[in-house]
Amino acid sequence: MQQKNSIRFRIVDFLLILMMIIPVTVLIVVKLLTNVPAEGISVTGAKIYFEISMPFQNLLITESQINSWMVMISITGLCLYLTHGIGVKVKNRRQHLAEWIVEKTDNLVKGNMGEYFMAFSPFIGAILGLSAFSSLICLFGLYSPTSDINVVGGWAILTFILITYYKSKCGPWVYIKSFGDPVTLLAPLNIISEVATPISMAFRHYGNVLSGSVISVLLAAGLQGLSSMVLGWLPGVLGDIPFLQIGIPAVLSIYFDVFSGCLQAFIFAMLTMLYVSGAFPMEEYFKRKKKKQTKAMSN
């Protein structure tokens, strides 16, 4: 049943796989070349590679920016690889995977936002993929971009813009009126809660990922101390090797890196969907649309 692929198809396949692998490999090599082994417990932010002078403030190109761009290139390569040679007639196995991903995302968006927001499906899929892969990149020993608040804050601001756009879809007057919803006295509180939405979204994602990395650093340092205390009597080089560091951090890493990263990606996408669909006054909008149509018809 499986047809022989042409040579051109295989070459493109190979190039796409390279596109997936090369960015991560480059990051690992750069990390290995520039990393200075730290003594004891050291928790630092993203490393600053270089600065670009700008009128108000210098633009810092940090590790988190470079890593997130490389993740984006990798994900693009993955998507192109999965959809390469796609057709009405299923030709290869990867098409099933691609269709499965698209179907699941569509179902998720349809279940949480409704039919009207079906155009959001690619955006939600992109947020899910980018967030999950950015968190999972720390399995390679790289700095994960999601443990930098600037990256996650950018996504949260994007969500905030979407929320505001959908809230003001019935005109600016309805948007302003929505702040004094039950009583006009509550307007300041409503404004605060409106601003708190992106802040809490950013803090939730970044805090979860950062707390995992801080705990793993503490655990590594603690295990090193413990193994030098317990196994320090071994002769020569054997006494210096921290044997207890083998294996034990990996168990916690399954929770803190894999599970927590994927869960936070899911929650971020879920909250985006709920907030955006909740902000849209659907009945009011359709009432106005109908009124406009009847007006145009009578004219």
């Binding site: 928790v43 803090f203 939730r204 805090g207 707390s211 869960l263």
Partner: protein, 92 residues
């Protein structure tokens, strides 16, 4: 001068520890949520996946206050001491 710096370091550590008392709240709240979810699954095992995803959502939102405390504690440990010591030196 040394005493002032020591007081700053000690107070930052104390403040971080005190801030993390906020971890109690999310712990109790998430425990309640998970207990109720277990009850619901026990009563109706067929809607396990829906209950689980709703529970995870609720847990993530209940966790927010704890994470605020965590962010404040991390700032107090890793960022604040240097800032305060710099302020002190400049003040002199």
């Amino acid at each position: 001068m040394e005493i002032a710096i020591a007081i700053i370091l000690g107070c930052c550590a104390l403040g971080a520890g005190t801030a993390m008392i906020a971890g109690i709240g999310p712990g109790i709240g998430e425990g309640n949520a998970v207990a109720k979810a277990c009850e619901a699954i026990g009563r109706q095992p067929e809607c396990k996946s829906e209950v689980t995803s709703t529970m995870l959502m609720g847990c993530a939102i209940a966790e927010t206050t704890g994470l605020y405390a965590l962010v404040i504690a991390i700032l107090l440990i890793f960022v604040a001491p240097e800032m305060f010591i710099e302020l002190l030196i400049n003040y002199k």
